[in-house]
């Protein structure tokens, strides 16, 4: 049993980090903002950790102090948060798909800037930063940081869904105009949701940089945006449980398929397909679940916490609201 955890340490920690990253994307979505900016902040968080651990507090030998990793995570969260306010205020004037495009552009800008020569001392340019020091002897030990991170951010969003600020978020998601007319400041709460997501993404990036041992412009790209969006949409975008389950399961799935192919009980052709065609299977599952589970696999109703349906079906058609009035009475 212990061997299983040690052997699969990297995968298990990656699953946890994917779940937290999915939560970071869930936060703006909770307020109705289709933002794909998380990977950009994730990349920035990673560079902050890489810079701090290799340049600011380099060690000669042995294990890197864990408290310094925590410090890097806090720094990454702070920088991401400040940056999110600056990016969010103009970007969140956009709606729907246009906001999504702007946030993709942000992710791309971060990637391109990390390659720019002026930032090379921090980002290492095209080759990136190598030999990011390890705080632990084995990868599974990253759980000491990853698991509390998931628990804290999960608990945070769980609470958020039950308080005033969270209600303002979902009101904006349901009907921004009506929410505005009910006294909720749309800009404030949308920027808040965006910023909270960015902080979480930055923190994940900082920890990931240590786990991966290296950080470069291939981390936190558009591909990551789409993957993380898939975690949220397939897992479920109506409760915080959805993105967590989505992140965990979809990160494990390709590896599960690969090991399924490796047990040798399947006909060679099928095994070959499972091993090499797993991205096809992965894509097919994405398509199927968006068709059959448009709200995602985990819905509030599934968990027994969502509102019930009314006993009687609603009136199918709303009566015309501008009926000719007065006529027979005047």
């Amino acid at each position: 049993m212990a061997a299983f955890f040690v052997d699969n340490g990297f995968l298990l920690v990656s699953m946890i980090l994917a779940a937290v990253l999915a939560l970071s994307l869930y936060l703006p979505i909770m307020a109705g903002q289709l933002s794909l900016a998380s990977p950009g902040f994730y990349a920035i968080g990673g560079y902050i950790a890489a810079y701090m651990s290799t340049k600011l507090f380099p060690i000669d030998s042995g294990l890197y102090p864990v408290w310094l990793v925590v410090l890097e995570m806090i720094a990454a969260g702070l920088v991401s948060g400040v940056l999110a306010v600056l990016v969010g205020i103009p970007a969140l004037r956009l709606r729907g798909i246009y906001l999504a495009l702007a946030t993709i552009a942000f992710v791309e800008i971060v990637r391109v800037l990390s390659l720019v020569q002026a930032f090379e001392p921090v980002t290492g340019g095209a080759v990136g930063v190598f030999n990011i020091p390890q705080p632990f002897g084995t990868q599974i030990e990253y759980m000491w940081l990853a698991l509390p991170l998931l628990l804290i951010s999960g608990w945070f969003v769980y609470r958020l869904e039950r308080i005033r600020a969270g209600r303002a978020f979902v009101a904006l998601r349901e009907d921004e105009l009506a929410a505005d007319a009910m006294g909720i400041n749309p800009t404030y709460y949308e920027v808040l949701a965006f910023t909270l997501g960015a902080i979480v993404a930055g923190v994940v990036g900082a920890l990931s940089a240590h786990l991966l041992n290296t950080w470069n412009a291939r981390q936190g790209t558009f591909d990551t945006s789409i993957n993380v969006l898939a975690f949220v949409l397939i897992g479920g975008s109506r409760t915080f449980v959805g993105p967590i389950v989505g992140g965990l399961v979809l990160t494990a799935l390709p590896e599960l398929l690969r090991s399924l192919a490796g047990i040798g009980l399947l006909p060679p052709g099928v095994a070959q397909f499972l091993a090499d065609g797993r991205t096809i299977i992965y894509g097919l599952l994405l398509a199927l679940s968006t068709i059959f589970f448009p709200q995602g696999l985990i819905t509030p109703r599934l968990l027994g916490i969502g509102p019930r349906r009314a006993a009687a079906p609603p009136v199918a058609e709303q009566p015309a609201s501008d009926e000719p009035p007065l006529r027979e009475h005047v």
């Binding site: 005033r164 009506a178 009910m182 006294g183 019930r308 009314a310 009475h329």
Partner: protein, 269 residues
Amino acid sequence: MTQPSATMNHAAPSAPVQSVLHVQGLTRQFGGLVAVNNVSFDVRPGEIFGLIGPNGAGKTTLFNMLTGLTQPSSGAVLYYGQNITGEKPYRIAKRGIARTFQNVRLFGTLSVLENVMIARHIHTRSSLMRGIFGLPPARAEERETRRRAFELLELVGLSARAHVEARTLPYGDQRRLEIARALALEPRLLLLDEPAAGMNPNEKQELSDFIRDVRARFNLTVILIEHHVPLVMGLCERIAVLNFGKLIALGDPARVQNDRAVIEAYLGE
């Protein structure tokens, strides 16, 4: 011909102190169309003020300008003497003007109770972090929010359906829920956009009594857009009639009902 000259000729935007709402020369153009054309009127404290007119007369556009959802092209709106022209909707809501929508705009996939709790937003102030950690003030505030929301649901007869998804309610109940949600703002001025649409005659009568009742209970001033004439005539103390964006009549129900311009607007010349 009834020219509402008494209220139309205010030169300066200095409202008489006694009016809740002073609308002056309010105009809104959409391209070449003048949806609301130089409309002026005053709404007095505690009255139920009706806004009627044929299709496309500009009633909802006028409501949208009063609540900040549409910016006026020109003109001014004073609320208790303060200029609120062109303010953002959430700021106007904070000042004490609440509204319902012609095409019901509930938070559809949320529960009936959540819909009303959301509208307690401006009367609660616990910060994000206090709320997250459930610290004492925030905790008490949450309980109070829930209690007040239930009270309002009881008032509109929806407390038994508190945990039902709002969009699955029958249409009439959705309208009642919208009123409960607007009342949760504790407004001084309530704007109802066709509150009786889709209700049967019995429900309309009940609604009429209900509106009078909430006015008295919450000390409200009410402006309502309504097409159902018996309801408007029976309920409103004064009525303004819009036609093609212009105010063509203003006065008590009997006067408006016998007004030549109004009859022409509805029946043709």
